[in-house]
Symmetry: C2
Subunit: 192 residues, 2 copies
């Protein structure tokens, strides 16, 4: 395993993720993908077993990163406010590192085959960790008494859409974006 050279399989998966973001998994053909990689369609099958395997590679690794990350944040010996900021920062970093994969994660997971259950379990676990952080925040009076599901899905809604506009704001620095998002999501946009 070299660190600076991509294997052919990795190259295929990265190229595929970019195409999946543009047109969605179902509309991307193996011939589209092959042309983009620079080989014939049949040659792809020397590196991957099926189209579905590519989707699995693209989605499951990211999903694992998210779930492992938030678990660490939840269990860490930090204040709730810091945990919330860490969750936001994690989303920015993972999304900026792989905006194409995030598109598949959000929109194409239903086309997973065997891997679908694993993905759904990871997503449930992620949401549950997030919910526990929110519950703790409400119990400590750090968070307002707003419906926990509204807080969860409102915040997640913003974070899950980052993949759509992070690529458009290439000039935006991560740390500045994280600060702005923390302020917006945690303290709101209105003056007090």
């Amino acid at each position: 395993m070299k660190s600076t050279t991509l294997t052919r399989k990795q190259e295929i998966c990265i190229t595929a993720a970019r195409l999946f973001k543009q047109k969605g998994y179902s509309a991307v053909t193996m011939r589209d993908l092959a042309a983009e990689v620079g080989v014939k369609a049949a040659s792809l099958y020397n590196h991957i077993a099926s189209k579905e395997e590519i989707l699995n590679e693209v989605i499951v690794n990211i999903a694992e990163s998210f779930t492992e990350g938030i678990q660490g944040i939840r269990l860490a010996d930090t204040k709730v406010a810091e945990k919330l900021e860490a969750v936001i920062a994690q989303h920015v970093h993972l999304t900026a590192d792989n905006p194409y994969g995030m598109a598949s994660l959000n929109n194409d997971w239903m086309h997973l085959g065997e891997g679908k259950e694993k993905y759904l379990a990871l997503r449930s676990a992620y949401e549950q960790h997030f919910r526990e952080i929110i519950k703790k925040g409400k119990a400590q009076n750090v968070l307002k008494d707003i419906d926990e599901e509204v807080i969860l899905f409102s915040t997640l809604g913003t974070l899950r859409n980052l993949y759509l506009w992070i690529p458009k704001k290439a000039d935006l620095q991560r740390s500045k974006l994280i600060d702005s998002l923390c302020e917006t999501l945690l303290n709101g946009v209105k003056t007090t």
Copy 2:
């Protein structure tokens, strides 16, 4: 035009929108759709010209509602804070009325043919109206001095994801949801 009876074309488009949300436009075949409607695939073509026309019907009407709505909100003789609340309320109402169509609007617009330019124009106009409201809010010191694009896309991110969880919270009353979202998006989730 009867108001209580759906035309066959409307029935086809509504059924299609539901399937598009489940699997995405590209993965839904005309035979899937026909089976759900209860006819043979060839019979669909007595009511619609093509698969693409169905997508156009599903997406463009909603996009027009959003853009016309926010234009009215922007031009109304109301305070900025009320305008922001009205934008949130509009999203809740339009999404609750048609959660399936919202999925296509968000995820399948790239498969529009002729209608794509119109859709993109409507979306740009929508975002521009929203931006102007935000600018006004910042000028009047109603909104904090946060990057305007962050406010825009953070708020829109949450609102554009409503279609995913409104159907799961059938018990949630619209007015209560609107109140919670206004509080969360405008004033934040943290106690002060």
